[in-house]
Symmetry: C2
Subunit: 509 residues, 2 copies
């Protein structure tokens, strides 16, 4: 470890725990990428890839205690949450192993020659091939599920792409520990270590996105960091796909009828969702449109009671804590903004959750309150009180893109009464996932999941959670008039691998 | 027409034919985009969209004579080619109508709640929705099939996206004529004119890509123009997908055994492919690796005879003619380059096709001959003579990304003998379509088609030809825990629209 030391830091004390790695030099990054590139052939066999992903899940389980201990010491997220996150991480790895086995992601399409079409169709067979080395930028807030062994890594490996992860500086020891488990799994199937690489350091992250052999990137983090990397990816001599999840306000709309029906339930549910994980989820509800009047007041009272009763927490690092304290203070200083529960410091290292309120017309009218329309990472939400539907719509018109949008309605509205369908259509334009009568936190790993939305929530139209995430790391290739013996087995008429496919317009399997 | 006049010019004479339009001002572009955005709701109904696309094909047929006459006068491509291109354009529109009807592009996935998974899966239903207004940048070389009524327009409309086309300056009258036919078809189904807009002018093209309500773009053209627009799309406050087809060398490799077997046939086939449409196809074979020695000599002789016998032609405009003459002269001036058939001027307006030859080691060794690895638009190809397989591979190692790569083999190699599988794998890394024992020109419209490849051939991993091109203009949205009555009909359990879908992991329909 000859480079600048990388320290593991305990956010509960602010103290350096250990010197666990060194920042990668440009030469280190180059070596990691070249090794990964050279390892891509080893990932070509689908059954081996699937077995590797399942073994990776098993190895994470076997190393669970050490992983959770390291992650808790580095992130303060607590053992219960981290055990749950590790279970989620294993679910993801196994789900992608199943996807690899099923083979539908190869999207095999075969068209036999047809001279009746203008222009004539020759023998054409298309499937998808891996893009090449994928750079993964790990997130702070999920040291496992969106980090070294997370969804980007799992989906890229499933696609057949070697991965080089840029470690998040908040959990270097966790990253190294998990890497060892992944490489143990790789070794068990004869795969080289380099199918998963790891580099530390800010400059290493930039060198990685600019490396000629890096073919695509996945990122979860801030708008500022993500946009800088997106710009670097776009500015390359050969631009590459950059699938970044940057930031999201995750608006919630509570209809007047919903507030009348369920003020207490919604207020309490909102408090639980916005303080979950000390408010450090990318889908934390950050702006809530609540009707004015008595029903809305009751909802806010329930929210305020629950948030005020929430235990203080520790954020992932002190920089985030500084940003949270400054961000909540700056928002509270805006005209018309109140804090029925003020966010703030708890001792030297902790924070207290808070609620901000503002009349919706201040958000709708001008750009003076735009800070309230930006994500504030941590346990705080903004409640905007609207006088009528027009005011609520005027606020929605000013929102950027989001990962999620949530709607709370009354049972009568669930049957389709009122303008609630129109409201749902409006929220659909704003987000990639629309939640009704629930909360956006808790992102299931499922085929129908979509975790992505209009910019800045993501920089592409794809998802980073759920099995369709594999699509990000593939490109189609068509073979024309290619003799059977030269075709990849996936594209042969006899279908020796038993793949689902579309042949002359008909689906098989 | 108050702006700078847009003239229709006859490339056969260089003379202005008529003043057919005016360049769009920033205000004109804004009005066109806003009108298109306002028209998006009208495209929401799938059966109407499908009917519109079929009527558009019919209207193009009805207006065929006028369209072909205008296009021939503006492009010099000739009535036979243009009638064929119009037929192709109709095929595309009808193919996308069928895609719209079938509904598979909606990619419906439904997962019912499952508490056994970690984390638990709620009710999740995902499908794809249109992105919004699509900007289409028309190509010069296909005044119909890659222009106003072309594949980008057809696929975007099929997806439910209104389109604003930036007309190519080489065929403004054709563009306006075709627009009228498309709008007639739209009107027949009660759709507003603004579902397809048209703007002229270089500045209008830039204003279009920067417009906040433009949600995605499709482009076919040069590396320089495409990269400038790609950069503008990436630099927006909210970056948008830019699906550009920029430039492609389309390498061909002839094995020693193939040359021994079929020297005359391959030479003649290459001549036909590289001079087709006066060499103005994006998939024109621009670099051909031919073995040294007698068999290769015979192949080159056959090529030279056929090219020398090819009638002179007229390029799409005089700027392209200037570039062709300068480009071929600059390549011929490089050390070691010969021209057994010199490209050149034919009179004041025409050009003669040419063949350049070069020893492959000059291409493989250094960057002195890199101009030969760049596309030269027009009827010329570069034949690189290789001494051994290592030399051929060394040239391939220096190539940028391509739309196509072509391999000519002997029947014995078709059975899998020799290293030909390895060669095919290498070509697959370089291109989006691999052709064996054929030629890349003639791009069929089919589900298995893929017209796209590594940069600079395209700026994304998607295709601009074939039915999967619709995927470019969609984004997924998931609905969570949404009451049946509020769900879009596409996502209801009862499947009232009879869509193919995946429910709890099982494919239906």
């Amino acid at each position: 470890m000859s480079g600048t030391p990388v320290w593991s830091v305990d956010p509960r004390t602010g103290e350096q725990r250990a010197h666990v790695a060194a920042e990668a030099s440009a030469a280190d990054v180059d070596a990691a990428v070249r090794a990964a590139h050279a390892a891509r052939g080893a990932l070509a066999d689908r059954p081996t890839r699937a077995a590797f992903l399942r073994s990776a899940a098993d190895e994470l389980d076997a190393a669970r205690e050490g992983i959770v201990a390291a992650a808790d010491a580095e992130t303060a997220l607590g053992a219960a949450r981290l055990n749950g996150e590790l279970a989620r991480t294993r679910t993801q790895l196994r789900a992608f192993a199943d996807v690899v086995d099923a083979g539908g992601f190869l999207d095999v399409i075969i068209d036999h020659p047809d001279d009746a079409i203008v222009p004539p169709v020759p023998d054409l067979r298309r499937y998808k091939v891996p893009l090449g080395v994928v750079a993964v930028y790990a997130a702070s807030n999920f040291p496992l599920a969106f980090s070294v062994p997370g969804g980007d890594t799992a989906s890229a490996l499933a696609a057949g792409c070697p991965v080089v992860v840029k470690a998040h500086p908040d959990h270097p020891e966790t990253s190294e520990t998990v890497l060892a488990a992944l490489r143990k799994a790789a070794g068990a199937h004869g795969l080289p270590d380099a199918v998963v690489g790891l580099v530390h350091g800010f400059d290493a992250g930039l060198a990685l996105i600019r490396h000629p052999l890096v073919a695509a990137a996945g990122f979860t983090g801030s708008v500022r960091g993500g946009r800088a990397l997106f710009d670097a990816a776009a500015a390359r001599p050969n631009p590459i796909p950059f699938h970044g999840e940057l930031g999201s306000l995750n608006p919630v709309v509570v209809t007047a009828a919903a507030a009348a029906d369920r003020a207490d339930e919604i207020g309490a549910g909102l408090a639980a969702s916005m303080t979950l994980g000390v408010g450090q989820f990318c889908v934390k509800p950050g702006l809530v449109l609540v009707p004015g009047g008595g029903d809305g007041d009751r909802l806010v009272d329930a929210l305020v009671r629950a948030v005020a009763a929430t235990a203080p927490g520790v954020l992932l690092d002190h920089r985030m804590r500084d940003n949270f304290l400054a961000g909540t203070a700056a928002r509270l200083a805006l005209p018309g903004v109140d804090a029925p529960v003020p966010a703030g410091a708890d001792g030297d290292h902790g924070v207290r959750a808070g609620v901000l309120t503002v009349p919706a017309d201040l958000l709708a009218a001008a750009d003076t309150h735009d800070a309230l329309l930006e994500e504030c990472f941590g346990p705080v939400t903004v409640v905007a009180r609207y006088a009528d539907d027009a005011q609520a719509h005027a606020v929605l018109d000013r929102l950027p893109g989001n990962l999620t949008a949530t709607l709370h309605v009354s049972p009568r509205e669930s049957e389709g009464a009122g303008d609630v369908r129109e409201l749902l259509a409006r929220l659909t334009e704003l987000a990639g996932r629309v939640v009704v009568d629930g909360w956006p936190t808790g992102v299931a790993v499922a085929p129908a999941q979509h975790h992505g939305g209009p910019y800045p929530s993501t920089t592409s139209t794809s998802t980073s959670v759920g099995t369709t995430a594999i699509e990000r790391w593939l490109r189609p290739v068509a073979y024309q008039s290619t003799p059977e013996a030269l075709l990849p087995p996936e594209l042969r008429d006899a279908n020796p691998l038993g793949l689902p496919r579309r042949v002359d317009g008909r689906r098989e399997g």
